[in-house]
Symmetry: C2
Subunit: 128 residues, 2 copies
């Protein structure tokens, strides 16, 4: 039962349809019918996803009764990005280690008479 | 039922305890007992969170039966960050608009005889 804003944001993003809706809204506001277009999904099902996005503050909807265009509100995404920011150095470190490993592999391959394929397989778990 | 990796990552991040566990692991690997320390939570409850993080590939656990230290794996966070990257210009635009709006307010405040508080309230919905 997430109640904090960041949990609500991440929960709203944890669905490919909802992410596709946000992606569509980057090119401008759209009605529910327009948003439903690319999905094999009923309008009520799309409306349900829109409600999740609206509650998370990721979209806002117009006030007009018939045509209630949805538009992207990126504020909560900024907070999610700031949270991830703190972890950047960790994935950069992982890629440095992978580079190092690939460098080692290349050195091994240059040595004659080594079974480099076997070596690669042994370390596969570590390198992922 | 999210099945794609990105949905699994965001779902795993949609919980304050799991984010706190990841934050703790930025300072080095830790056992379940060590991770449970700061939370008013049973070991099984913490273990459940660790399983979600492990399935999402956000942590890896040592093989030793008794002491199975958890360590951070930041790869999936990189993918989440890349997804968010595409929305950066939208929150930057929002802040530009907010700057513009605040600039306007300041100009209005310099004009004598205007009720700036009323003006601020009218536009409040737009500026958020």
């Amino acid at each position: 039962m997430p109640v904090d804003q960041l949990s609500t944001t991440f929960a709203a993003l944890a669905d490919p349809t909802r992410r596709a809706i946000l992606a569509r809204l980057t090119s401008g506001e759209a009605s529910v019918t327009e948003l439903a277009g690319p999905f094999e999904m009923s309008l009520p099902a799309v409306s349900k996803h829109l409600k999740v996005l609206e509650r998370a503050g990721l979209i806002a909807r117009g006030r007009e009764a018939q045509w209630r265009p949805c538009r992207l509100q990126a504020g909560p995404l900024k907070d999610a990005d700031e949270w991830l920011e703190r972890y950047r150095r960790f994935w950069e470190e992982s890629f440095d280690r992978l580079d190092e490993y690939l460098g080692e592999i290349q050195k091994q391959e240059k040595k004659p008479g080594r079974n480099t394929f076997q070596k690669k397989e042994d370390q596969n778990g570590r390198s992922k």
